[in-house]
């Protein structure tokens, strides 16, 4: 078999050496980690950045005048600039650090939506959203007596754009859709979605939790108004994420949380809020993880997103072919544009049973509804098994998965 490295220009074996966890054995077998859509593993540079921060320049940022505080502040703000360039935002002020994509979506729901929604206004989401991009909007719609509309999906797992166009009206105030689906892998045509929404004057939020690690993100080119992603899914630490917002919109929104950092002046009569982006970063932020996020993004950039994309496409294509040849296996989500996620069911077998037996063979996949219950309801299944691939995965590992599945199916038959 041809090696992946030879085809895609990505030296996967060299990449793998950066991820110490990949040396782990489970049940006497080499770990095969295919749960990357849940969280990616961390390269040594990210682990080192965390240790280095706490070992050498841990300090609270922005206020201190001592050397450590200056170094910590500089590192924290360097990540902001790296993120700005990574997603092609106009300025660092448009980058707000959060705990993750979920918090980014909630921030917009709590501030922008609460300020701008009137009774009868409409928010549009799609039927393939993660619960994180459903529940915050349901909550704000209930409070503001606004209406949540849902764009249906097709049997291939693609957004039905015709229905979307019909749902749009002057009542539409916000459209929030996932850039790439975590349970189906579908890459949505976000530029079309955004252009259509802007035509009726609605703002658009993109849930970039899955897409950021796989695709080139260009918020300027897509013209989205908000974009949220999580650090831990882009080879960075848990507990840090990013919300991008267009400057003029962020400036018009009320703050999310009150506290230190987000203020300019406080008296008991009146508080003057700080400038962007600090207005939305109340309290001492997650400094260490934010600092290490820069190392993750630098690592991704160095490996080359184009190389990674080609490699992951190869893996997706190979896995799709391998899995489809298994008797009784159905792939859920067959969109024409997909990130490297393969969700599937096997006839008469509960996904959880497959997950347990794969785990015993050292193969980590995710089973269940993947926090997208409406998607499972649409396909009338209790859940799927999901294998999701990262830059360090190989075709050999997909062979291991296929063999593991054959074995599990035989045991369960």
């Amino acid at each position: 078999m041809e090696t992946v490295a030879a085809i895609s220009g990505l030296d996967v074996m060299a990449i793998r050496e950066n991820f110490p966890i990949l040396n782990r054995e489970l049940n006497g077998k080499q770990l095969v980690y295919f749960d990357n859509a849940a969280t990616s593993q961390k390269p040594q540079v990210v682990i080192d950045a965390l240790v280095n921060y706490y070992s050498h320049y841990n300090a609270n940022i922005h206020r201190g005048i001592h050397t450590l505080a200056e170094e910590a502040t500089a590192a924290y703000e360097a990540t902001r600039v790296t993120v700005q360039k990574f997603i092609n935002a106009a300025s660092p002020e448009e980058i707000i650090f959060t705990r993750g994509a979920t918090e980014g979506i909630n921030l917009v729901a709590y501030t922008w939506a609460r300020k701008n929604l009137q009774p009868g206004d409409e928010i549009i989401i799609s039927a393939m959203e993660h619960h994180s991009n459903i529940v915050p909007w349901q909550m704000v719609c209930e409070e503001k007596k606004a209406v949540l509309k849902v764009i249906p999906i097709t049997s291939k797992g693609e957004i039905n754009l015709e229905v979307y166009e019909k749902l749009l009206s002057p009542k539409t105030k916000l459209v929030s859709v996932v850039h790439a689906s975590n349970s189906l892998g579908t890459i949505n045509p976000v530029k079309e979605i955004i252009t259509a929404a802007h035509r009726v004057g609605a703002v658009v939020m993109l849930d970039g939790a899955q897409s950021t690690v796989h695709l080139d993100i260009d918020v300027h080119d897509s013209d989205c108004d908000f974009f949220a992603f999580s650090g831990h899914k882009v080879y960075g630490p848990t507990g840090v994420g990013v919300l991008y917002g267009k400057k003029e919109i962020l400036e018009s929104m009320p703050p999310f949380m009150g506290g230190g950092e987000m203020i300019k002046e406080v008296t008991f009569e009146k508080t003057i809020y700080n400038d962007l982006p600090y207005k939305y970063e109340a309290g001492t932020p997650n400094i260490a993880d934010t600092v290490a996020l820069k190392s993750a993004l630098d690592f991704l950039k160095k490996a080359g997103k184009e190389n990674i994309r080609r490699h992951e496409e190869e893996l997706l294509e190979y896995a799709t072919a391998q899995l489809q040849s298994i008797n009784g296996l159905t792939i859920i989500g067959n969109a024409s544009q997909k990130v490297s996620v393969v969700s599937f069911t096997v006839k008469n077998i509960h996904p959880q049973d497959l997950g347990v037996l794969l785990d015993n063979q050292g193969i980590a996949v995710r089973t269940g509804h993947h926090c997208t219950q409406p998607v499972m309801d649409f396909f009338k299944i209790p859940g799927t098994v999901r294998a999701s691939f990262a830059m360090y995965n190989t075709k050999e590992e997909i062979d291991t998965l296929a063999a593991g599945l054959h074995k599990a199916i035989k045991m369960l038959a």
Binding site: Q352, V356, L357, N360, G368, H369, M411
Partner: protein
């Protein structure tokens, strides 16, 4: 079912069966077999109030009181969980509420299946044990109320 054996004796029987297995495959094949052999629960019992909802698989549990002893019936849509609940039903059925409430159920750890208990959110197994004990507690208090009347 268990009339003459104590809960611990049934547990020990299960531990003995598992001690014959050398590999994880044998262990799981046995559990899968138990799951398949467990008679499916009559559809009339598959009501929402009998569901113990896990995040991924569903467990149905019903209990009957017969001459001061409790008998359980259970089912699941996932076969490994079904095998595990089949063992729990075997161990606890036919015993008095106090015996069930006192049962430590160490056999789960001793056969190396603790990881399934840890997955509380996904398979509802821990919730099922709790519910089995709740039934015992409920029957116990009914009995004590009857006595006091």
């Amino acid at each position: 079912m268990g009339e003459n054996k104590t809960i611990r004796e049934t547990e020990e029987e299960i531990i003995d069966s598992f001690s014959l297995f050398d590999t994880w495959e044998e262990k799981y094949e046995y559990i899968i077999d138990l799951g398949k052999q467990l008679a499916p629960l009559d559809e009339k019992y598959k009501k929402p109030e009998n569901i113990i909802k896990g995040c991924q698989s569903t467990v149905w549990l019903v209990a009957e009181n017969c001459d001061g002893k409790i008998f359980y019936k259970a089912d699941s849509d996932a076969v490994i969980v079904k095998g595990l609940i089949s063992m729990l039903v075997k161990v606890l059925s036919g015993h008095a509420p106090d015996e069930i409430l006192d049962a430590k159920l160490d056999f789960i750890r001793e056969i190396g299946m603790m990881n399934h208990l840890a997955q509380t959110r996904s398979n509802g197994l821990l919730a099922m044990i709790k519910q089995m004990k709740n039934y015992a507690l409920a029957y116990k208090s009914i009995k004590e109320t009857e006595k006091s009347i």
